[in-house]
């Protein structure tokens, strides 16, 4: 690869994946008070991949920059990113505002310009709004190649080759820089940050910006009218034998 990689990794703070979310009383969203938050698992995989690319290709990666757009507390996950090996970070503090993927992508476009990034690695979706959009929108805004749902990323000469998880199996795409990659679960196993690295991360750069510093206004195109529980399933029965199972299946006309 003739040009050095300047990797941008957007990360999102979300309700921890192991927690079952509860709808708030007003029916307008999910209860977030007193709930454990973590880095979105797919973002963690994206960060890990950027670190792996640096380790596997000596001298190729000039910089790994992590960015998060969210409340002030998102700096916690940026500190974790720094502890794991990101060089620098930016927090775009939007307070408690919900920011839609289109706006996030527009902000990321500005960050790409500021940082001179030529490779953006994102998670394929955040596990809260499950949109699966931001990487593709950013690729569209920049008119860069996109490879979604990556399960393998390889640097091959001047090209980056990406194997993707698609319906029915896998396919492989390749493109040269600059490009956008979104990560699937099976791309890698994210590392843990060690205590010494967590201490060191406290001294690493964390730039704080507001949306207005990027010249982007947070305007939502979608209005959430309500958020509700999905219909509950009625209680099932436990059977004691396979025979009973078969007769219940017949009763339910399932076979």
């Amino acid at each position: 690869m003739s040009s050095k990689l300047k990797i941008l990794v957007p990360v999102k703070r979300v309700i921890d994946f192991a927690i079952k979310p509860r709808i708030n009383k007003a029916g307008t969203g999910v209860e977030t008070k007193g709930v454990k938050f973590s880095i979105n698992p797919f973002c963690d995989i994206a960060l890990e991949e950027s670190l792996k690319i640096r380790e596997a290709n000596k001298g190729l990666v000039e910089k790994i920059h992590a960015v998060s757009i969210g409340p002030t507390k998102s700096q916690d996950i940026l500190r974790t990113a720094l502890a794991k090996g990101a060089d620098t970070t930016t927090l775009v503090d939007v307070g408690d505002a919900e920011v839609e993927p289109l706006t996030v992508a527009k902000m990321l476009q500005k960050v790409v310009e500021r940082e001179g990034s030529n490779l953006v690695i994102l998670g394929k979706q955040s596990i809260d709004d499950d949109a699966n959009q931001t990487g593709q929108i950013l690729a569209g805004l920049l008119n860069w190649p996109q490879a979604t749902n990556a399960s393998k990323v390889e640097i091959k000469g001047d090209k980056i080759s990406v194997t993707r998880e698609v319906d029915g199996g896998a396919d492989t795409l390749q493109a040269d820089l600059p490009m956008i990659i979104t990560t699937d679960l099976r791309l890698n196993e994210p590392r843990y940050a060690s205590l010494p690295n967590i201490m060191k991360a406290k001294k690493k750069p964390l730039e704080k910006l507001k949306a207005s510093d990027l010249g982007i206004e947070v305007v939502n195109r979608l209005e959430t009218l309500k958020v509700e529980e999905p219909p509950a399933r009625s209680a099932g029965v436990k059977v004691d034998s396979v025979d009973e199972l078969v007769s219940k299946l017949k009763e339910a006309k399932a076979i």
């Binding site: 993927p101 959009q133 490879a147 979604t148 396919d171 493109a175 195109r221 509700e228 396979v242």
Partner: protein, 330 residues
């Protein structure tokens, strides 16, 4: 006051003339079941529906799409660059079609292709898409699951062109037995500027029905211990039921089967008539992919497994004995 009424009337009149564009995905000339479900969702919006098919095999797919009841016409873009549905090629084509013909809605299946394509198109049109809808409430209002299906959000779009991807399991498939509507060829006038090359693909060959649209699914988890047991126990049961085979993330990660068989929040979302979960504990992320199945059967030796909270029929037993016995007695 008068003026606002007048402008409202104008607005509603102009809305009535506008159309929905449904992107149809085909594999080897055959329309995918997910696309047929997306067309039913497109019709639910209540405007005339035009389908668009892309790719060099498009003619064959277009001929079958044209027989879907209730479509007004079918567009086909046969250029070779659309063969692998690279979003870099298809999104600019759709942008041109939407803008030159004044569509107000674009619908695509929430398949791997649809998920890659629609947000890129959204960037070109400067709109915020709505992902993975399960219900159409009004032409601008949709219901979609969030938080792994633990909540349903009703969202209203204020965009000039509304982009929606459709969860196939939430809508029936459109029938292709109507009178053929006209098929018209379209092509992009501008270069896409695409720099992405397709290199190769490795698709899993299977005798079993396609997981996403199967009416019955037999799925295995970590409890199956290894690939040999997975195949030896689940294949005969699936064969007997005419079912597709699915898996939990644990089973896929342990190499029991291919990734494309994963059912869950980040894998396939299915809602078959019958879902048989074998050796699957029932993590939130797995339930997200199957809890809308009509009848759920769980076979697990752990009586505390969360899968029993959603199962209609639960059997606490050793799967090594129960599954072969069940296969024999069906």
């Amino acid at each position: 006051m008068l003026r606002s009424i007048a402008s409202k009337r104008l607005f509603s009149q102009s809305l009535a003339r506008l159309d929905t564009l449904a992107f149809v995905e085909a594999a080897h000339g055959k329309v995918t079941p997910a696309s047929l479900s997306a067309i039913v969702a497109a019709k639910a919006i209540g405007k005339p529906v035009t389908a668009i098919v892309a790719g060099p095999d498009g003619a064959e797919a277009a001929a079958s799409v044209s027989k879907i009841e209730g479509l007004s016409n079918v567009l086909v873009a046969k250029a070779p660059q659309y063969r692998h549905y690279l979003a870099e090629e298809v999104a600019p084509l759709l942008k041109e079609v939407v803008e030159s013909r004044g569509f107000t809605h674009v619908i695509a299946p929430a398949s791997a292709v649809g998920k890659s394509l629609l947000p890129r198109l959204a960037a070109l049109l400067d709109v915020q898409p709505v992902s993975d809808i399960i219900r159409v409430e009004a032409p601008d209002t949709f219901v979609r699951p969030i938080y792994a299906g633990n909540a349903l959000a009703t969202v209203k779009s204020s965009d000039k062109v509304i982009l929606v991807s459709v969860r196939a399991s939430a809508f029936p498939a459109a029938e292709t037995n109507g009178d053929a509507v006209p098929v018209e060829e379209v092509s992009a006038s501008a270069e896409s500027g695409n720099r992405t090359e397709f290199v190769s693909e490795d698709l899993v060959q299977s005798e079993r029905p396609e997981l996403g649209s199967a009416t019955r699914v037999v799925a295995g988890g970590r409890g199956l211990k290894n690939k040999e047991t997975f195949d030896a126990l689940l294949e005969p049961l699936a064969e007997k039921l005419g079912a597709a085979v699915g898996a939990s993330r644990a089973a896929v990660d342990s190499g029991f089967c291919d990734n494309s068989l994963q059912v869950g929040q980040t894998g396939k979302i299915v809602a078959p008539e019958l879902y048989v979960a074998v050796g699957i504990s029932g993590a939130i992320q797995h339930l997200a992919g199957m809890k809308d199945s009509k009848t759920i059967v769980a076979i697990n030796k752990d009586p505390e497994a969360p899968i029993f909270n959603v199962a209609d029929i639960g059997l606490v037993a050793d799967l090594n004995e129960a599954v072969p016995e069940l296969t024999n007695k069906l």
